[in-house]
């Protein structure tokens, strides 16, 4: 249970924090103009963006780890929970205005995530269980 909770938090926090850090870095960098596209490469020199990319890499790693032992329909809501983290960070770190509608959206997503997180994480498959049982019997014999 603790492992599930930890991976859920890792997915949501890395996803949300990564996005916010990228936004902060891009704000410092200024607008990218089409007549000077090479300007975008200077983004990789900005510490906010570098840390943001590291967070997004962490998100992808924890997402793949979760998928290795949980159903897709169990893990997907966790990625949506990243929006909730983004809303909180936008409000308190980037000082953006978050409308009541957005907070309502945050509540709904949180409810949806809570609903799934309390259920089973992996579909039980009778065929694989049976195979394992057969193998065990075979080994015993």
């Amino acid at each position: 249970m603790l492992k599930k909770l930890f991976i859920y938090l890792a997915i949501a926090c890395c996803n949300g924090a990564g996005d916010v850090l990228l936004k902060r870095g891009m704000d410092e960098l200024g607008e990218i103009h089409l007549n000077n596209p090479a300007h975008i490469f200077s983004a990789f020199l900005n510490p906010w963006i570098v840390v943001g990319i590291l967070f997004l890499a962490g998100f992808f790693y924890s997402y793949l780890t979760a998928l290795s032992w949980a159903d897709l329909t169990y893990v997907l809501p966790a990625t949506a929970f990243g929006y909730v983290v983004t809303a909180f960070l936008s409000r308190f770190f980037l000082h953006e205005a978050v409308s009541p509608w957005r907070w309502a959206g945050v509540l709904l997503i949180t409810g949806g995530v809570g609903l799934v997180a309390r259920g089973p994480s992996l579909t039980e498959r009778r065929d694989t269980n049976q195979l394992a049982a057969q193998k065990e019997q075979h080994e015993l014999a």
Binding site: K3, L64, T65, L67, S68, W69, D71, L72, T73, Y74, V75, L76, P77, A80, Y83, A87, S99, W101, R102, A104, G105, V106, L107, L108, I109, T110, G111, G112, V113, L115, V116, G119, P120, T123, E124, R125
Partner: protein, 126 residues
């Protein structure tokens, strides 16, 4: 006409990203628990296992394609329409694909959650 073009791009984006998610999920189930592999053989072995799985690479290609569809859709329409429309449709589409292709047990609890997340994502841009 231009709105039809936009919705085709959103449709392709949704299909590509759900297909990518389903492939990643199937690929990871084939590889097994990544944490266990990491504990036994280290992080490099995990990377080795993952990049050698063809289904993972195919899924990754789908996700990259969906990213370019997203950029295209964003250049044709407002971000306030494209982002929530594609994200919320992807949740529903992935749940449907997971049920029929991965044979996951998508019970009432998970459908309800997908619907709540969907409406929540739409509200986020209000």
């Amino acid at each position: 006409m231009s709105s039809l073009k936009l919705w085709i791009a959103i449709g392709m984006l949704v299909m590509a990203s759900s297909a990518g998610d389903v492939m990643l999920s199937a690929a990871m189930k084939r590889i097994g628990d990544l944490e266990e592999i990491r504990a036994k053989k280290g992080l490099l072995a995990v990377v080795g296992h993952v990049v050698r799985e063809k289904l993972f690479l195919l899924g990754l290609c789908c996700l990259i394609f969906s990213f370019f569809c997203l950029l295209t859709a964003l250049s044709w329409g407002d971000a306030s329409l494209v982002a929530p429309a594609s994200a919320s449709l992807t949740y529903i589409c992935s749940a449907i694909l997971a049920k029929f292709l991965l044979h996951e047990n998508v019970d009432r609890r998970r459908w309800l959650s997908a619907a709540l997340v969907c409406i929540g994502v739409i509200l986020l841009v209000k």
